[in-house]
Amino acid sequence: MPENYDNGTEVEVRDLNLWYGENHALHDISIDIPKNSVTALIGPSGCGKSTFLRCLNRMNDLVKNCRIEGKVHIDKQNIYSKDVDVVDLRKRVGMVFQKPNPFPMSIHDNIAYGPRIHGTGKKNIRGVVEEALRSGALWDEVSERLDKSALDLSGGQQQRLCIARTLAVRPEVILFDEPCSALDPISTSKIEELILELKKKYTIVIVTHNMQQAARISDYTGFFLTGELVEFDKTEQIFESPREKATEDYITGRFG
């Protein structure tokens, strides 16, 4: 594991194990995810990378028969501690999914939904919506039609809306679970540009099947295989000279 991050560690995971019933899906994962940087998680289907991602905002709590052991600290707080409010945690650790999932309501209300729940008053909501849409690189395209249905936006715009919706509640960490797999190349590059911009303010963790995407946008890369974190290092190290043969075989396409 690389040491001494410039901006410090945001997420500290130690000896994390996860079982779905009898299935031991994650084995002794230890990783320090650096602040204000993009960390990519790669690996073949079923390797545990999305399962791991979902541990970071306790999405696996919703899965029946799921058992988790180990330590996950975000900004030095144990997120599996009994006194943690999960709703508040998911505000701090936002998530963007593979398929854009806007609510069936207006563009404005999609963004306003979260801040309203968390207590932002009517007076301030307009400003919050504009700021989030600007940060989500969508404002210029939708500012004239905020009251229109979000479902009428293109796939790429919907995904940026979902990112803006996450930003509206001012998270610390944003988890992306294959955010571009349903998008065309132009929309993909817009999201990638956006992620590079967002890392200035947020800590980003992204699961991707697109190796070139991981290479292009991430600062650090973790390679998962059969529930284990095989290698975690600076992205240039992983893609130029990985230390583990399994990593080399995967990223050069010899298996997976």
Binding site: E240, S241, P242, E248, I251, T252, G253, R254
Partner: protein, 216 residues
Amino acid sequence: MTRTKYQETLGILRRNVTQMGKLSQDAIHNSIAALKELNIDLAENVIEGDQIIDDYELSIEKCVAQLISLQSPTAGDMRLVTSCLKIAIDLERMSDLAVDIAQSTKKIEGNHIKPLIDIPKMAEMAESMLEQAMIAFENNDVSLAESVAKLDDEIDRTFYAVWKELMKMMIQDETIINNASHLLFVIRYLERIGDHACNICESVVYNASGKRENLN
């Protein structure tokens, strides 16, 4: 095994570089043989044969460009691809230096100023460095590459010794200046060939280990 076509192309690239290395080695060998015997026909063969080596370089460059643009090689594959391109450039330059030696041979007037002993010895060292560097490339042998690069010191020492000797002879006998100055160029070319062999060793080390070493 997946990406069969990609793996095949990487194999072809590797073989072409190895083949180009053999041709460059032949060019160096023949250029010195031509110089030693003042064999103009052989010198002409070296000059004409350079086109084949240039063609190899071009085809390797094309292959590398295609691999990068179509297959996005990473890790060991990326190191192989970039190393092959660098080695091909070094081999092409070495072959040009063999051509330069052949051109010098054509400009020698009459007989040599003295029987050539150190120059063929220097050429043998340079040729052997290239041969060993290419073996190291074929076998991804870092320690061989590192030890081959050390031989360049001996070439450099011989270069300065012969250079001094030739200067001394020219001072003593002005009539040999034409032939001696061509020999001065030849030892310079051989010294450069040794440097390019060192570059190849550096590429071998990078390809095999990912480490960037300065062996020159």
